[in-house]
């Protein structure tokens, strides 16, 4: 057992931290957010240059052979900086589906241009009625000769507005809430029959509602046509939960750092407010919440690569519960300890709080995962 980073991992961590410290001040973030894309294409190119976009892919596929730990390090740094770029959407979600679900030709065709930053992807999976249930897919995929024809509506497609291609889940068999019968299809975002409505989310990121009307998919763009894509989707969503847990830990640690700085500098009654025991103890409880969350981030990272799906899902759900609870506590308390300034749009803290709140909802909130865990045979073996 060890918690050490390899030399390469340490270098990666240092370089992403340095780049974001140089380029991702909160003022810059405001500018990126106000641009038409809602994020920075320039920084996306730089992420590619220092290898962040390709690191999770195997060397054979045109990546750098990293794994979940690399994704964790990058995500944590992005969380601290509140980076707006479509890393989770393109690299973790859609990239993950191609990495684990694409055939050799698909991987060769797509991964190099993902890693170089040229190709943006999004995963169009959730639907208005599906909630957090990954198997709830109403969109249909009808076989037409060797091709498929897709129809349906997808919602909350993260960074779906800027994606060049979408990976769409659609049902070739079964009823809406059946676990079997789901396939994955690679669709050009500008293809006939695809319409998108992009919008900002509460935390300053971007998403889209996508409508598919008789969208034709050629055989080469079918990822999992045998109708058994659910285990793959679950696996990639678990990887995304691990990554967003790290993003949350980054945001929590930034919120705590800002709060502690504020407690040391803000004076009332002639003394720094950090000298008051009520506030000290609250800050200490935030430390406890952060450390518990960081521990579960690491567990989620390691267990996201676990082959035994039942064990993997238990650990991931446990992490999601802890991260959700810690994030809510730290987010709310950091605003409280800042007082009025924490309520303002111009100050970074409130944006950390909003991102933390959205991360809890993504992929199932703490209560959803607690209920799922409660139906299992237990976490303590």
């Amino acid at each position: 057992m060890n918690f050490d980073l390899t030399e390469e991992q340490q270098l990666l961590k240092d370089s992403v931290t340095r780049l974001l410290a140089d380029r991702y001040s909160f003022e810059n973030r405001k500018t990126f957010q106000a641009s038409p894309d809602g994020w920075s294409r320039d920084l996306w190119r730089q992420y590619a240059e220092i290898g962040l976009l390709g690191v999770a892919f195997s060397e054979a596929d045109g990546g750098f052979g990293g794994g979940p730990v690399e994704t964790m390090l990058i995500s944590e740094a992005f969380g601290k900086a509140l980076a707006l770029e479509p890393y989770l959407a393109t690299i973790v979600l859609a990239g993950g589906l191609i990495r684990r679900g694409g055939d050799a030709e698909q991987r060769a065709a797509l991964i190099p241009s993902i890693a170089s930053g040229e190709l943006l992807l999004a995963f169009a999976h959730a639907e208005r009625q599906s909630g957090h249930d990954l198997f709830d897919v109403g969109a249909s995929a009808k076989k037409d000769g060797a091709s498929f024809v897709l129809n349906g509506e997808k919602g909350l497609v993260l960074h779906g507005d800027c994606a060049d291609k979408l990976i769409v889940s659609a049902r070739s068999a079964g009823a809406r809430r059946d676990k079997a019968g789901i396939g994955l299809f690679l669709v050009d975002a500008k293809a006939d029959g695809v319409s998108r409505r992009g919008y900002p989310t509460q935390d300053g990121m971007r998403a889209a509602e996508v409508t598919l009307t008789n969208v034709r998919v050629e055989p080469k763009d079918v990822l999992a046509a045998n109708g058994d894509a659910l285990p793959l989707i679950e696996r990639i969503v678990d990887e995304a939960i691990a990554a967003s847990s790290a993003e949350a830990v980054g945001a929590m640690s930034e919120a705590l750092d800002m709060t502690v700085d504020y407690l040391k500098t803000r004076k009332q009654f002639g003394v720094p407010i950090g000298s008051f025991q009520a506030l000290q103890h609250r800050a200490s409880d935030m430390v406890v919440a952060l450390e518990q969350a960081r521990s579960m981030m690491m567990l989620a990272t390691m267990m996201s690569a676990e082959e035994n799906a039942a064990e993997r899902r238990k650990a991931i759900s446990a992490a999601k519960v802890q991260i959700g609870r810690s994030a809510r506590f730290i987010g709310q308390q950091s605003i409280q300890l800042h007082g009025g300034i924490g309520m303002t749009m111009e100050y970074k803290l409130g944006h950390l709080f909003k991102r933390l709140t959205m991360i809890d909802i993504l992929f199932g909130d703490a209560d959803y995962h607690l209920e799922r865990l409660s139906k299992s045979d237990g976490l303590i073996g």
């Binding site: 430390v287 450390e291 969350a293 579960m296 390691m302 519960v321």
Partner: protein, 401 residues
Amino acid sequence: MDLRFTDDELAFREEVRGFVKSNLPASIKQKIVEGRHPGKDDIVAWTRILNKKGWSVPHWPKEWGGTGWSPVQLLIFNDELQQGGAPEPLAFGTSMVGPVIYTFGSDAQKRRFLPRIANIDDWWCQGFSEPGAGSDLAGLKTTAKQEGGEWVINGQKTWTTLAQYADWIFVLARTDGTVKKQEGISFILVDMKSPGVTVRPIQTLDGGHEVNEVFFDNVRVPLENLVGEENKGWNYAKFLLGNERNGIARVGISKARLKRIRELASLHVYGERPKIEDPLFRMKLAAVEVELKALEMTQLRVIAGERNREKGKPDPASSVLKIKGSEIQQATSELLMDVVGPYALPYQSEREDGDRWNEPPVGPDWASTIAPTYFNLRKVSIYGGSNEIQRGIIAKAILGL
């Protein structure tokens, strides 16, 4: 980063597990599993079994009986003993005064006391808290004055755990009242048989007798029983309390209790179904399991960080372990209350030896310890530096507030 145990560590775990399984007397194990207090004889018997194997003080330096195990091995060892239903070692000897003696004591003290601690030939208790010095421990008033080539000790200690069995007590006493309160304290070893030592029991709200008051009335102690330097006792006390916090997460004990909760909740039916089929109960159980899993990982992180720390300096992160560990222990005792239901009510004083109680128990035979355990465990967020004191340590030592 690899959070799995290595093959060697897994083999070590099997070895410890096997040893506990084949050497822990069944009668002792049963007491622990049922949530009853082990007697003095039980703790002595088990410590001697461990000592025969060379495992009674594994964390000590090798020359005094330690094993040279890695921090991870020590963690596995403690976890296996706790999960296997072994009584906890008498921490006052093995984790408190023992390390103080081998770190700060004289050679004569080491030779005299350490082997007897390892074999529990001496039963130690802790003379720290006083009626007026709890969280503000440095405000203690018990005095030790040099008189005729001896220390003369006067004062009162309280919350002295298992002092009724003790042969020795380590005492913090004021040896200089003219300086800053932390700088006038000394650490002195006192034979409990000395004239002038009186032990008076305190009954706690669970009905048990774990703690005592200890009175010192002109108790005469040889000068050589001072540990380290005069007036440096506060440093030794801080060292000791830092060590105390390290074991305080009690992850193995909480794991064992959660397993028992699942077991009892599956067997025990009141109302229409076993408790384990109640969705609300399952959610509460899962929530505690998540916290415990996170704590287990946090403990591993603290231990892994030990390599990079100055030896003997406590890690302020151990305060995180203390807070969470105590909260989880308390939460598990609340879950047991949920499981037992109405038959938590009958009060049946503990049957320390089976013969004294000839009547059958009222209600299920495992139910009588559950409410007392819940009441008793309120102590864990108070002792060893209350959780509020721990929050103060985090605020100062980690956050710099």
